[in-house]
């Protein structure tokens, strides 16, 4: 297999500590970035949707909006891949608790927001996007697996793709099994060729070696606290501009990433 080469044209990031990718860059440069407000702004959503949307949707749409704005692409033209290890955990907690007590009272809105593709559904509606859209999960390898899916769409379809990977914090008894203690979301816009907005090129190859990149604190702790933060080695590399890192693509498969300046 030859390596897959794709180009990063935009990046988005949100966590309780980091408002965007610039905040990560600032942190890694030794500064203390200002933390964002408690709820992701998700300005791409119409105001009425923004008020009603669950945090999982706000988080995914916030980082998607950041990355697309940076790329200069029109959101309606981008195929979209939204990944999440656990989906909307507060809704899962609500649904399982309600089903155990008063199942006939289940909220129809929360039920349709419980589908794994709710964030990408809201995104396509808000941006008028008729392109293919998908929603993935692969536990702690969710970012690596969705990066592989994104790169394969970029190269086979020869079109730019929006990749989002996000999980919100868990709540209720579910927390004990997901271990997801804080929110984290990130997004990339990937393209088949370099352009004026290209930030870096990536060469991706699958490997049987499963030594994932180590991280310094506080990034190591953030990765521990959220499966989607498995993206952090790549994001940290992007802040530097070049180098090599490795992520999990699956439970038994590594994804080696070589990044170059453009």
């Amino acid at each position: 297999m030859s390596a897959l080469r794709v180009y990063i044209e935009g990046v988005g990031l949100w966590s309780p500590q980091l408002a965007d990718f610039a905040a990560l860059r600032s942190l890694l440069a030794g500064n203390t970035p200002e933390p964002p407000s408690a709820r992701p702004a998700a300005a791409t959503l119409p105001p009425n949707e923004r008020r009603r949307a669950p945090e999982s949707v706000l988080l995914a749409i916030e980082v998607a909006g950041q990355a697309v704005a940076m790329s200069g692409h029109s959101a309606s033209e981008l195929a979209c891949i939204f990944a999440s290890a656990h989906g909307d955990q507060p809704i899962t907690d609500y649904m399982c608790a309600t089903l155990a007590q008063t199942p006939a009272e289940l909220s129809p809105i929360r039920f349709h927001n419980s589908v794994h593709n709710a964030p990408v559904g809201y995104w396509t509606i808000a941006t008028g996007c008729h392109a293919p859209s998908t929603a993935l999960a692969a536990q702690r390898a969710s970012f690596g697996a969705s990066l592989l899916e994104a790169a394969s769409q970029v190269l086979v379809e020869q079109r730019p793709v929006l990749l989002v990977c996000s999980d919100t914090a868990s709540s209720g008894p579910l927390l004990e099994v997901t271990g997801c203690t804080q929110s984290f979301g990130c997004a990339l816009v990937l393209a088949p060729e370099s352009s004026a907005t290209t930030m870096a090129s990536l060469r991706l190859s699958l490997t049987t070696s499963r030594v994932i990149s180590s991280l310094a604190e506080p990034l190591a702790h953030w990765r521990e606290a959220n499966a989607s933060a498995g993206a952090l080695p790549l994001l940290a590399l992007l802040a530097e501009g070049h180098g090599r890192c490795q992520l999990d693509a699956a439970a038994t498969l590594g994804l080696q990433i070589d990044m170059d300046h453009i």
Partner: protein, 401 residues
Amino acid sequence: MPVLMTPLAITAYTTTSAMGHGLAAQLDAIQHTRSGLRPNDFSSAPLACWIGRVAGVEDTALPVAQAGWDCRNNRLAWLGLNQDGFLARVLAARERYGAQRIALLLGTSTASIGATEEAYRRLDADGGFADDMLRPAIHAPHSLSAFVTAALGLEGPCMTISTACSSSAKVFASAERLIRLGLVDAAVVGGVDTLCDSVLFGFNSLELVSTEPCRPFDAARDGISIGEAAGFALLERIDAAPDAAQLLGYGEASDAHHMSTPHPDGLGAELALRDALMRAGLDAGQVDYINLHGTASQKNDEVEAALVNRAFPARTRASSTKGFTGHTLGAAGIVEATIALQAIEHGLIPGNLGGNTPDPICGAQFAWRNEHQRVDVALSNSFGFGGNNACLAFARAGFAA
């Protein structure tokens, strides 16, 4: 603009649903117009509806090495893998290509959420999960794929696609891309969804569940019947199996309209259809059979019947088979792919079970009863919440568009 796709061989496939275990049971149920639906005897509290429940799931035991994955959804997955010699075909492919050269892509809408529901029904005194439910891996959407990849001993790319009711159609598209790029030589695709309170009471809360067996495309249809199913297919390059049926194309598109209601003009559904035909190099007139999404919801059937009417000539035959299986949600794509493949293999167009008083919006394409004719090309439609649409195109071995 999608480019013409090199067809892939479907070297093995299987399905298990309320129609029975394996392909022979499915064919027999269709030949004898025997629905698998029965009055709801599943939900943890009473709910007046009909369900497509798979017999024998409760008695299925997982392999000892995978005992930690035990839950209804993974039992149904294992039951399904053991039909039609599918397991042996995958193991032979693993020998041939190597475990890292086979991808596993499965679709599911709720995975093993039934186990999480159970954990919440019997929380221990301090409000936490009981000890036997403290198995983190089954309380996640990837539970199904992680279990199946372990059970099959596969080590290639492994992902779960969860786009509600289009999930296990979209896995064919993702698998084709991985094979085309040379990342793998083969892919196991499919999907599994099991009955659980979340979907029974959830669809009920949206007033989408009928109290009667579902009646797709019937003038008096009043909602869906929920079912469960497992299905799998093995995809390889065509030179590995020139005599196997083929995946000719796929199409994917988004409605950008509403979370739980289809676009009124079927915009996303039509884009997915056109995308699939273009990749397959087909004209609509070459399509012999379409297995429709046909859920028996008011809106879906109205929009889909109009699409069939404007896109296909009368010679193209169309039907929904949800009257046999119920709506198996994330598994519907693979179940209906196997029905399309059986239509090609056996020259049997399944009648649209439940449509006793056809809705006048339905055109001459509809097969209300079983029809026997040669089928070279068959499509399968799958649409999901969030306006997520997929269409698959299959063909007989040797078919040239």
